[in-house]
C-alpha cells in the first residue's frame, strides 16, 4: 500500500470513515482556496472535529513524513491553503464552536473554524465587538485570520488580528498540543511565541483554539463620503487627515474605474463625474467623533472635494459603504477576469504611486481599478484582463507584478493583509535579503525541523534545519539586486 493509502487507513481507524476523503472526484473540491488559479489536488483530505483529532492527524503525518496543510473556510487570497498533492489537507471548518464568551473580561474563546463576523454577533448583546474585519468576514474563519494576521477596513485605528489574540492552543508540526500566550491574561512569561505564530501562515503549526480580545462598541460612528476630481486630490486629503492628528477608524479610496464599476453594479449614487471617492469613518466618544468630522470635512474641502455626504444611522452608513463593499464583485461586470493585488506603501506616497500605476497600465494597454485602504497605504489594485484574448493574461500579470515592485521601491510591503502564501513567494527575495529570510526560518526550524507544515509557502528557499549558516551557496533569487525594505 502507498504511504498515503496507509495513512488513510490509519486515520479512518482513528477518526472514523467519514473523517477521510480519498476519492479523486471528492478531493478535487479542495484543490484551491480563494485564489483559484493556483490548483493542486490534495493527496488526502482529513476533517478534524477536535484538537485531539488534529493532533492525531498531524502525528500520523509526522510519523509518515507526509506534508500537511490546514484549511479553514478556504477564502484566503494568497494560495496559503493550496494543498500538497503528496500530502494531507486538514479541514478545520467543522471546528466552529464558541467555547466561552467572557463579557466581563472582554474575551471570546473560539475554535478555529468559528466565523469572524459571528464573534462580533455573539459579543453585540454585551456592547462589545471583535475589531479585525476582513472584507470576507461573513465567511472567513478565525483560524485563517490568525494564520494570515488578517486586517480589514477598520484596522487603521483598531489594529490587526495580532493585536487582538491573547492566547492560543495549537498542534505543533510534531503533533504535540501546546498553549501559547496566557489564555485571557496578557504577557505570558518567556518568548512571545504567540506573537510569532500569528501571521505565520500555517507553517509552524495548526491553531485549535483562540482567545480573542473584545472592545467596547463605540458610542458614535459617522461615515463621510467625499468626491474628488482626481486621486491626487483625494490622496492629498488622506495625508492631511493623518497629519492632523485625527485617527479615523477607516479611510477607503476608490478611483474612477472602481466608481464606474460600483455604479454599474449596485448604483450607490456616488457624486457624478468624480475621479476619486473617499470614505472616511470615525468612531469613538460622540464629542471626539463630532470634532474629528469637522476637521476631516474641512481638510477634504481644502483639498478640492466637490461634494460631501455624511451618514450616522446604520442604514445610511450601509448605503455609503455599499459601493465600496461591492466593488470587487462589481469589477467582475466590467471585465471577465481580474487579478486582485495587495501591496503597501507609506501613506504619504499615495499620489505618486497611483500615478505610476496609471502609467504602467496605460503602457501595457491594461485597465487597473483601485479600491483600497488608503489610511494605512494598503493598495488593492484590480488588474483587469480577458483570458480569451491572447496575451492579455500575461500583460495583466506583468502589470500586477510591476505594482508589487513599485511598493518595494517606495519602502513598502509586498502584502498588507492577504499573506505571502504560494502566490508571493517569488517576491520575498526582492523585499528581504538572504540573511533576513534565513533568520525568519530559524523560527521555523524550532517548530518544524522536518518542514512538513504547509511547505512551499512564504519562503522561496527552504532552509535545511541544523545546517551550518553561511556555508551554502546563495540562491539566485535572493541575491542579485535584492531590494531591502529599510
Amino acid at each position: 500500500m502507498s504511504t498515503l493509502g496507509e495513512l488513510a487507513a490509519r486515520l479512518r481507524a482513528a477518526l472514523g470513515d467519514g473523517a477521510v476523503l480519498d476519492d479523486p472526484a471528492e478531493l478535487r473540491t479542495y484543490e484551491c482556496d480563494g485564489l483559484s488559479h493556483y490548483r493542486a489536488v490534495p493527496g488526502l483530505v482529513a476533517f478534524a472535529t477536535s484538537a485531539d483529532a488534529v493532533a492525531t492527524i498531524v502525528t500520523a503525518c509526522a510519523q509518515a513524513a507526509v506534508p500537511f496543510v490546514a484549511r479553514g473556510s478556504g477564502t484566503g487570497l494568497s494560495a496559503g491553503a493550496l494543498p500538497s498533492t503528496e500530502g494531507v489537507l486538514i479541514v478545520l471548518a467543522k471546528m466552529r464552536g464558541l467555547v466561552e464568551l467572557d463579557a466581563e473580561g472582554q474575551r471570546a474563546v473560539v475554535e478555529p473554524g468559528f466565523i469572524n463576523l459571528d464573534v462580533s454577533r455573539a459579543a453585540a448583546p454585551y456592547g462589545l465587538f471583535y475589531a479585525p474585519d476582513p472584507s470576507s468576514q461573513q465567511i472567513c474563519s478565525i483560524g485563517g485570520n490568525v494564520a494570515e494576521n488578517s486586517g480589514g477596513a477598520h484596522c487603521l485605528k483598531h489594529g490587526f488580528t495580532t493585536h487582538h489574540v491573547t492566547g492560543i492552543e495549537l498542534v505543533t508540526p510534531s503533533g504535540e498540543q501546546v498553549t501559547l500566550g496566557n489564555g485571557k491574561a496578557p504577557d505570558a512569561p518567556g518568548y512571545d511565541l504567540l506573537g510569532a505564530f500569528v501571521g505565520s501562515e500555517g507553517t509552524i503549526g495548526i491553531l485549535t483554539q483562540a482567545t480573542l480580545r473584545l472592545l467596547p462598541r463605540p458610542e458614535a460612528v459617522v461615515t463621510l463620503l467625499a468626491g474628488f476630481a482626481t486621486t491626487d486630490e483625494a490622496g492629498a486629503a488622506v495625508s492631511a487627515i493623518i497629519a492632523s492628528g485625527v485617527l479615523p477608524a477607516a479611510i477607503e479610496m476608490m478611483d474612477a474605474l472602481a466608481i464606474l464599476a460600483a455604479e454599474t453594479a449596485v448604483h450607490p449614487g456616488y457624486p457624478e463625474g468624480c475621479g476619486a471617492v473617499l470614505l472616511v469613518e470615525l468612531d469613538g466618544p460622540g464629542i471626539d467623533v463630532a470634532e474629528g468630522l469637522a476637521t476631516v470635512e474641512a481638510l477634504c474641502l481644502a483639498n478640492g472635494a466637490s461634494e460631501l455626504r455624511t451618514a450616522t444611522s446604520e442604514a445610511e452608513r450601509a448605503l455609503l459603504w455599499k459601493g465600496r463593499k461591492s466593488a470587487f464583485a462589481a469589477v467582475g461586470q466590467l471585465s471577465p477576469d481580474f487579478i486582485v493585488q495587495d501591496g503597501v506603501i507609506p501613506r504619504t506616497k499615495l499620489p505618486e504611486v497611483l500615478r505610476a500605476i496609471d502609467a504602467l497600465a496605460l503602457a501595457a494597454g491594461i485597465r487597473v481599478a483601485n479600491v483600497f485602504h488608503a489610511g494605512d497605504g494598503n493598495l488593492h489594485p484590480l488588474v483587469l484582463f480577458d483570458e480569451s484574448v491572447e496575451g492579455d493574461a500575461e500583460r495583466a500579470e506583468a502589470v500586477s507584478s510591476a505594482i508589487v515592485d513599485l511598493c518595494i521601491a517606495h519602502g513598502g510591503s509586498i502584502t498588507g493583509e492577504h499573506g505571502v502564501g504560494a502566490d508571493k513567494v517569488q517576491f520575498m527575495g526582492r523585499m528581504f535579503g538572504e540573511d533576513d529570510l534565513d533568520t525568519m526560518q530559524l523560527l521555523r526550524c524550532a517548530f518544524d525541523p522536518a518542514g512538513l507544515s504547509n511547505p512551499g509557502k512564504i519562503f522561496p528557499t527552504p532552509r535545511l534545519c541544523g545546517e551550518v549558516p553561511g556555508r551554502r551557496g546563495a540562491h539566485p533569487l535572493t541575491v542579485p539586486g535584492a531590494v531591502e525594505v529599510f
Binding site: R107, K184, D187, G190, G195, T348, S413, F486
Partner: protein
C-alpha cells in the same frame, strides 16, 4: 571600535566581565559577534544599563557589549506617523524629538533612562498600554545582529505588513538572548491637546474593581486605567483621558455618571503613576474579568507579609490585566512571590519577579511555569546554537 580596558567594576548582575566593548556601528557589532562566535565567547548586551538587576545573572560572561556608543539615528517620517530609531537612543530623548512635530511613541518611560534597545529587549510597557497596546504592538520593523554576526531585518516601515514572520514580536521581551537589537521602526500617535487624570479611592476591593471594569468597558475611550494600593490602605483608581479640553471634560462627566464615583481631576499624573513600585517588583497578570476576586485573594494572602515600613505596593494597568507588586528591602520575597503567584494563577494569569537586588533573587523561581517550554528552548537553540547570548539570563535561555 573603542575597546576599553576591563572596567574596574563592569559586571552584569554581580557576574564580572573580562572586558567591555563598545561597537560604534552595526558592522562593527557584526564583526565582533562573528569573532566571538569563533571563540565561543559569552556576551551580554547593555545600552542604558537601567535594568541590569532584571532576569537572572548570566551563567558565563566574557564580554559586556555596550551598545550606547552606536550611531544615533532618528528618522521621523511625520506624515506617515512612523519613526526609525537606533537602539542607543533613549526613549525620553526620542519622545522629546517627536513632540516637536506633535507626535509621540505612545509608550511610558516606566524606568527612567530606558533606551530603545532595552525597551524592546524587556518589552516593558506602562499605563498607556491600555489604549495603545504594549511595545510589541507598536513595533513595525526590527534590525538585529545574530549570534553568528549576520544582520537581519523583519517587518518594515509601513503600518500594515504581513510579509514573512514577525520577528519583532519574538525579540520583544527576549532579554538579548536571541540577538542584538540595533534598530527599529515604530508606529506613532499624535500628542493629545489635553490630558485629564481622574482619581478616586475605595476601601473595598470590590468597588474599586467594579469601577475599573466599568471604565474599561465604557465608551469613554480611556487612555489608561490604573489601580493602586499602598500597603493595607485604600484602593486608588486613576483614569487618564486624552483629547481636546472639551472632550476630556465631557468624558469625565460621563464616567462619573456611569460609575457613581466622585473623581478628583488634574492635568498632571498623581504620585507614582506609571512607575514601578518597590526596590523589588513582581509582575502579576490576570484575566481582566477576575480583578475583584484577585484583589480579595491578594488582600488575604499578602496580609502580614509586608513587614513594617514601606511594605507592599500594588500598582498597574488593571484594565488590561497587569499589576506590579513592589516590595521594600525589609520584605521577605519568597512568601510574597508564593502568595502572588497562587492568586494570579487562580485569576487566569501568573506572576514573575521582574526585578530585585541580586541577593534577593537567589533561590527564587523567578518566572513560574512557562508555556510550551520545549518550543521556547528550541527557539533559543535555533537562534543561538552556541548558547553565547546572555546564557542563563532569561527564563527559556
Amino acid at each position: 571600535m573603542d575597546e576599553e580596558a576591563p572596567a574596574a567594576n563592569d559586571s552584569v548582575d554581580g557576574v564580572p566581565a573580562r572586558r567591555t566593548v563598545r561597537p560604534e556601528s552595526t558592522e562593527a557589532l557584526a564583526a565582533l559577534l562573528t569573532e566571538g562566535a569563533a571563540a565561543g565567547e559569552a556576551v551580554v548586551f547593555v545600552t542604558g544599563r537601567s535594568k541590569l538587576d532584571w532576569g537572572r545573572p548570566p551563567r558565563q560572561l566574557d564580554a559586556v557589549v555596550d551598545l550606547s556608543a552606536m550611531e544615533r539615528v532618528i528618522e521621523h517620517a511625520a506624515g506617515d506617523l512612523v519613526v526609525r530609531t537606533s537602539a542607543s537612543v533613549r526613549l525620553a530623548e526620542l519622545n522629546a524629538e517627536l513632540a516637536r512635530a506633535g507626535q509621540r511613541l505612545a509608550i511610558d518611560e516606566v524606568v527612567p533612562g530606558t533606551s530603545i534597545g532595552g525597551l524592546i529587549a524587556t518589552g516593558l510597557s506602562g499605563p498607556l498600554r491600555h489604549a495603545f497596546g504594549s511595545v510589541r504592538d507598536l513595533l513595525l520593523g526590527i534590525t538585529v545582529v545574530r549570534a553568528d554576526g549576520r544582520v537581519a531585518r523583519s517587518g518594515g516601515r509601513v503600518v500594515k505588513n504581513v510579509a514573512g514572520y514577525d520577528l519583532g514580536k519574538l525579540f520583544t521581551g527576549s532579554f538579548g538572548t536571541l540577538g542584538a537589537i540595533t534598530e527599529a521602526w515604530f508606529r506613532l500617535h499624535p500628542l493629545p491637546a489635553a490630558r485629564r487624570y481622574l482619581s478616586a479611592s475605595w476601601s473595598e476591593a470590590e468597588s474599586a474593581a467594579a469601577t475599573v471594569r466599568r471604565v474599561a468597558t465604557s465608551t469613554a475611550a480611556p487612555a489608561a486605567v490604573e489601580l493602586g494600593r499602598d500597603g493595607r490602605g485604600p484602593y486608588a483608581v486613576t483614569v487618564l483621558l486624552e483629547g481636546s479640553e472639551a472632550s476630556v471634560a465631557a468624558r469625565a462627566d460621563q464616567l462619573e455618571a456611569l460609575t457613581g464615583a466622585r473623581f478628583a481631576a488634574g492635568a498632571v499624573p498623581p504620585e507614582g503613576f506609571g512607575s514601578l513600585p518597590g526596590d523589588s517588583t513582581l509582575k502579576l497578570t490576570f484575566a481582566p474579568g477576575t480583578l475583584g476576586p484577585l484583589l480579595d485573594h491578594l488582600d488575604s494572602s499578602l496580609a502580614g507579609l509586608g513587614g513594617p515600613g514601606e511594605g507592599l505596593v500594588l500598582r498597574g494597568a488593571a484594565g488590561v490585566g497587569v499589576l506590579f507588586l513592589g516590595a521594600g528591602p525589609e520584605v521577605d520575597l519568597a512568601p510574597v512571590l508564593r502568595a502572588a503567584r497562587e492568586a494570579a494563577t487562580a485569576a487566569g494569569g501568573g506572576a514573575i519577579v521582574l526585578r530585585a537586588p541580586a541577593g534577593r533573587r537567589a533561590g527564587l523561581d523567578l518566572y513560574g511555569p512557562l508555556p510550551a517550554p520545549a518550543l521556547q528552548r528550541a527557539v533559543k537553540a535555533s537562534f543561538d546554537p552556541g548558547d553565547r547570548l546572555a546564557p542563563g539570563r532569561f527564563v527559556a535561555a
